[in-house]
């Protein structure tokens, strides 16, 4: 166990998520390895997004949502209600399906979170430049930092969101279908960017695009609905699972998409 959690950035044990009486997710166990890309796939409504949201406690925002089980991150259990969620969310960043920069200037998009976490104006600027450079956006926007982020294209906005998450230097970044709202070209740019992030952060990505999962994932987990609630039916090395899934549902799902 100790050995495992050294390798894993996040270890999930017996996780269940309930919305009122409805159990969205039951008995999920998963180790998310450090500096790899873990992809979560499966049909809609099988709890992938709920799972993702429980990793940075965004589930707190949903009324009537209860999370049971353990999520071990840096030897601490995240589901503990006393855990400091603010610093947790700084360490585990998130990028959403729809690009959602704050509708203010590009600079403010960095300043708001960075100032909150105690950085000086100077550090804000340095980190902004560094993060924008990493996502390849610096050249494109360096002359209009004071302009509204809403004027950027969809792909640029999504890269801005990724840069904004990177600027906080998180350990893990969660991606919730980051490419599904983008056109194919922008989608390819963002996908390449995610692959390049692997060296510095752990990536967890929910995607409906199996081709994308096949291209980028190191680890793959297939979610499925069993007995009315979602769970993981197959999990492990992405290449192996795509080759020969052992679970029949996973087989159908992956092959159906293949054919």
């Amino acid at each position: 166990m100790a050995q495992e959690s050294e390798l894993a950035a996040i270890s999930v044990r017996n996780l269940s998520i309930q919305y009122g009486d409805f159990a969205a997710l039951q008995n999920v166990n998963l180790d998310i390895p450090r500096n790899q890309i873990s992809a979560l796939v499966g049909p809609s409504g099988c709890g992938k997004s709920s799972f993702l949201n429980s990793l940075n406690r965004l589930t707190d925002l949903i009324p009537g949502c209860r999370v049971k089980g353990e999520v071990i991150f840096q030897t601490q259990n995240l589901t503990d209600s006393k855990h400091d969620v603010l610093s947790l969310r700084r360490q585990i960043g998130m990028v959403f399906q729809k690009p959602n920069p704050f509708p203010q200037s590009i600079r403010r998009n960095f300043e708001i979170p960075l100032r909150e976490h105690g950085f000086s104006k100077k550090e804000c600027r340095d980190r902004m430049v560094e993060a924008l450079t990493q996502v390849g956006l610096w050249e494109e926007v360096s002359d209009r930092l004071e302009k509204g982020a809403a004027n950027l294209s969809g792909g640029q906005q999504q890269r801005l969101c990724i840069a904004r998450a990177l600027a906080l230097e998180p350990e893990v970044i969660l991606f919730d279908e980051p490419c599904s709202a983008l056109d194919p070209i922008a989608s390819a740019v963002v996908e390449d960017l995610i692959v390049s992030l692997r060296e510095r952060v752990t990536v967890v990505i929910v995607t409906h695009n199996l081709a994308q999962a096949r291209r980028i994932a190191d680890q793959l987990s297939v979610f499925w609905v069993r007995d009315g609630s979602g769970t993981i039916v197959e999990s492990g090395d992405a290449g192996e699972i795509f080759q020969s899934p052992s679970d029949p549902d996973a087989l159908n799902y992956l092959c159906g998409a293949r054919g």
């Binding site: 009324p63 947790l88 969310r89 959602n100 203010q104 979170p113 976490h117 004027n151 906080l168």
Partner: protein
């Protein structure tokens, strides 16, 4: 035809006021003191009292209104009993006739708190009256914001207070401004709630604890209690109407500008 009728009525009212009032209004009228119960002199002190009453009212009503709306959106889960209770009492508050606010203000602010007939009592009474407007408009403005704004801010580990002040408030500002305008217009036009709380005095108020008549009370008094006061009253009425129009226009203008700047 019905449309013509209603628009016609509006024009009729405005034109009447303009016809009777314009000749009376000049700088002198706006600044000099009230003489002979208003038949001579101007409305300087009346304007001063009105502004002071308005200031008291807004200073209290805005923090409470905006705070209450944010409590509903941020601090309690939607659909909870507390929210239901609060929205219901705000609805009821909004339906209470202004004269009843006057009765309450007279009993509570004037007598029990011992503020007497004063600008402060009047302002506080008006604050109670426009509170539901501010709460509702702020609520509508915040609730119409895209939910992922709040989501992404939370995902970055921002505190609620930061999310409120740096992310939500700037976006909701135009909506809040509209509520502010409606509130100001209501407060300026209110008469019934002020007669028994801030009184009739025509002299220039020296402090917030002095009595002072607002412009709408002045119009009322001139029209009802002062023989031959009608022309002077229409001048005051015209001033009031113009101010309200101007506030409406400015609020629209500023919220447009704000939206442009933000996007």
């Amino acid at each position: 035809m019905a449309a013509v009728l209603s628009v016609g009525a509006l024009l009729w009212i405005v034109l009447d006021l303009v016809k009777m009032g314009t000749s009376q209004i000049d700088w002198e009228f706006l600044t000099s003191g009230v003489e002979e119960s208003g038949r001579a002199g101007g409305i300087g002190p009346v304007i001063k009292s009105t502004l002071l009453i308005l200031m008291c009212c807004l200073l209290v009503a805005i923090p409470f209104g905006v705070g209450c709306a944010f409590w509903i959106t941020e601090m309690v889960s939607p659909g909870s009993r507390l929210t239901a209770w609060l929205t219901r009492s705000v609805d009821l508050l909004a339906s209470i006739p202004s004269i009843v606010f006057g009765l309450f203000g007279m009993a509570f602010f004037c007598r029990i708190l011992g503020l007497g007939f004063s600008i402060l009592s009047g302002g506080l009474t008006l604050a109670c009256m426009i509170l539901p407007i501010l709460i509702r408009t702020t609520l509508a403005a915040v609730q119409s914001l895209p939910p992922d704004l709040r989501l992404s801010a939370t995902a970055m580990g921002l505190r609620k207070s930061t999310i409120l002040s740096r992310v939500l408030l700037p976006r909701a500002f135009p909506g809040i401004l509209i509520g502010f305008t409606i509130g100001v217009a209501r407060a300026l036009s209110e008469t019934a709630a002020l007669i028994f709380t801030s009184g009739y005095a025509t002299r220039s108020p020296a402090s917030l604890l002095d009595s002072g008549r607002s412009i709408s009370v002045h119009i009322f008094d001139m029209a009802m209690n002062v023989p031959n006061g009608a022309t002077r009253a229409s001048a005051s009425a015209l001033v009031l109407l113009l101010v309200i129009l101007m506030i409406n226009y400015l609020a629209n203008y500023f919220s447009d500008q704000w939206l442009k700047k933000v996007n």
